[in-house]
Structure formats: structure tokens, C-alpha cells
Symmetry: C2
Subunit: 202 residues, 2 copies
């Protein structure tokens, strides 16, 4: 088994945090995104979509997409469960992970990709699309703040993969030049808490 | 249990096809999106993100996001498995479902939302963003066509939720005014096949 990792990029970090929470280690190779190694012929043969992370199993099976990789690890080592326990909790973890991906992470990514000067060579930038996404980030953060008033973690009383996606999305706001408003005290409490876990340094 | 459905919109259709494949029926209430019922106070109390579908369990638990709802149904009725069997197959179904969502469905949606005149009142349209997404649709369709050369379904030899997402995404090309190129013969073979299943009329 080998995990093609991508250094500081947010999706590879999701998988590293997941592994750290599971107490698992997997042989890794870092793909240098700055040098466009993910666009190389060798890497494209692994993932035609030219994205990290990629997990290659010993039989040669290639698994891409961070959450698909995390789910594979969940199967290998079920404890602690990070995708929920039982049907209802699993559905709520899936729901919150997707809400954060669709309404926060995707919006922060759009701001970064379409407005950051460093991305101008990597992306066909549409600055207006970046601008449209800024208020979406703050609208969702407010909603999440309200939710976190009454519970410890994003999807309920237990830490889950939805907290990992949330942490990575909020931390991605910094390169996107967005700041969590001071008055979102529940969100800030949650962020401090998850950022203080040893896995967050992965 | 009650499912808030949204008529012809693609996400509610994903859940209806899933239920039909499982042979399950669930009490439904249609939310009239044309009349903006999903923006009403009553519906917003169920889903602050104002999207269909929404599943409300008998204990009042609210589950949103199509795939979270489908996964809940998979737990209730595991056969036939539509999220894969065993760790590797489950990871590959998750991977393909996400690839289709991110690289096809999201791109088709962007074309529809940002370029269709009917959406001008519903969305802050960024026509350039719609245009940027058109070539992405065709690039992914070509990739998928190649994949379908050697296998029956999107994620392997068996029908899965990734085929449901694929069918809905390809059918969504019509209102987005996009046409599947004639030369993508493997993709067309697959589409004919999944569109001919009784569930596709759900």
C-alpha cells in the first residue's frame, strides 16, 4: 500500500489527519504540486484527474478522492469510528461532511482559486465567481456557529470525519485571505478544540 | 418517516431512483420549487440550506443531502447493495460517485445555473463561470467513455449509486443545453442501459 500525498494542500491533509486519528501509518510519497508533478505522465496514469491524494493497494487497485480513501481505512481499522456508529449517526456524519464540503470548503476553494494571484497560472480564473463565493463562506459559518452552540462536534457528540473536513476548510480560509468573524464564538471554540488535537499537526 | 421530494430536480430524482432499485416506498411530500416553497419558513426550519430532498425520521431526526439519505436507506435495506460490497468495492463506488459529482454533475449544474435564462431570478449568475464549465463536462465525459470501454457500470461489474449519479448528471445536460457527443459510444451504451431500467422512470 502506498499513499501519494500532496504536502500542504488541504485534501491530502484530510487523509493524514484521518490516519493520525486512527493511529495508522502508511508508506507515503509526496507529489510536489508546486513543480506540477501531479500533471506528469506517470502521475496521470495513476489518476487521470491529476489530483492528490491517491492510494495504491498492493494488488494495484487505485483509490482516489480523499473521502473514498478515508472510508477504505475505516474498513481496515474500524476503531475509533470516524464515519459514525449505526444508521442514523452514519447518515448525519455523511450529511455534515457533505454540507461542509459543498457550502464551505467549495466556497473557500473558489475564493482561493479564482482570486489568489498565485493561482493565475494554474486555473482559468473567473474573479467574479470568487467574489460571489465570499458571502457564501460567511453565511455557512454563521449557520455552523448556531449548530455548535449546543453540541461539541460538527455531526454530534463525537469527533468524526466531518470535523476533519471542517478543520481543513476553516484553515484553508487563511491562504484564501478570509477571516473567521470574532462574534462566531461557538465556531471558534470548536476550531480551537479540533486544532489542538495531535492529529491536526499531521 | 417522510421524504420531502422536489419533482423534476435532479437530486430528489437520485433518491427516488435509489428507492426504486431497493424496491422501497416511503411517504412523500412534493416541495414546489417553482413556487419557491423550499425558501418558505416551514421548509427552512427543516433544512436551513433550503434544498431538497429532506428525510424526516419518526423521532424527528432530519437528514438532508441525497447521498446521506441514500446511505440511510442502504442501512435499512442492505440488498441489493448499491454502495458496494466489501472495503475495496465500497471505496471504488465512493470514488466514482464523487468523481461524477465533482467533475460532471457540478460542471453541468454550473452551466445550467449560470447560463440558463430561467435561472436568472434564482441565482447570482456569472456567465463566464458557466462557459468555463462547458469544456469540463466534455473532458470528463471522454474520460468516462474510456473507462466504460471495459466494464458494464461506472464503478465496476455491478450497478451502484455511482450509476444513479451518472444517469442524473447526464440527463441534466438536456436542460443545460449540452449534448453527449456521438462518438462516445461506450458512454452512450451505458446511458441507454441504465436509462432503460424501470428505476429510471422514478
Amino acid at each position: 500500500m502506498k499513499l501519494y500525498d500532496g504536502g500542504r494542500a488541504p485534501n491530502p491533509r484530510r487523509v493524514r489527519i484521518f490516519l493520525a486519528e486512527k493511529g495508522m501509518t502508511v508508506p507515503m510519497e509526496t507529489v510536489d504540486l508546486g513543480r506540477l508533478e501531479h500533471k506528469s505522465q506517470a502521475f496521470t496514469a495513476l489518476n487521470p484527474l491529476q489530483r492528490v491524494p491517491v492510494l495504491v493497494l498492493d494488488d494495484g487497485t487505485v483509490i482516489t478522492e480523499s473521502i473514498a480513501i478515508c472510508r477504505y481505512f475505516e474498513g481496515l481499522r474500524p476503531d475509533p469510528p470516524l464515519f459514525g456508529r449505526g444508521g442514523t449517526e452514519q447518515a448525519l456524519v455523511e450529511m455534515w461532511n457533505r454540507r461542509i464540503e459543498l457550502d464551505l470548503y467549495a466556497a473557500v476553494s473558489a475564493v482561493f482559486r479564482h482570486l489568489h494571484p498565485a493561482m493565475s497560472g494554474m486555473e482559468e480564473q473567473v474573479p467574479q465567481w470568487g467574489e460571489v463565493n465570499k458571502p457564501r463562506v460567511f453565511a455557512f459559518l454563521s449557520l455552523l456557529d448556531e449548530e455548535l452552540r449546543d453540541r461539541m462536534f460538527v455531526a454530534g457528540a463525537r469527533f468524526s470525519v466531518a470535523d476533519i473536513t471542517g478543520l481543513v476548510a476553516v484553515d484553508f480560509m487563511r491562504p484564501a485571505r478570509l477571516i473567521v468573524p470574532d462574534d462566531l464564538v461557538h465556531l471558534r471554540r470548536w476550531h480551537e478544540q479540533v486544532a489542538a488535537r495531535p492529529s491536526a499537526r499531521a
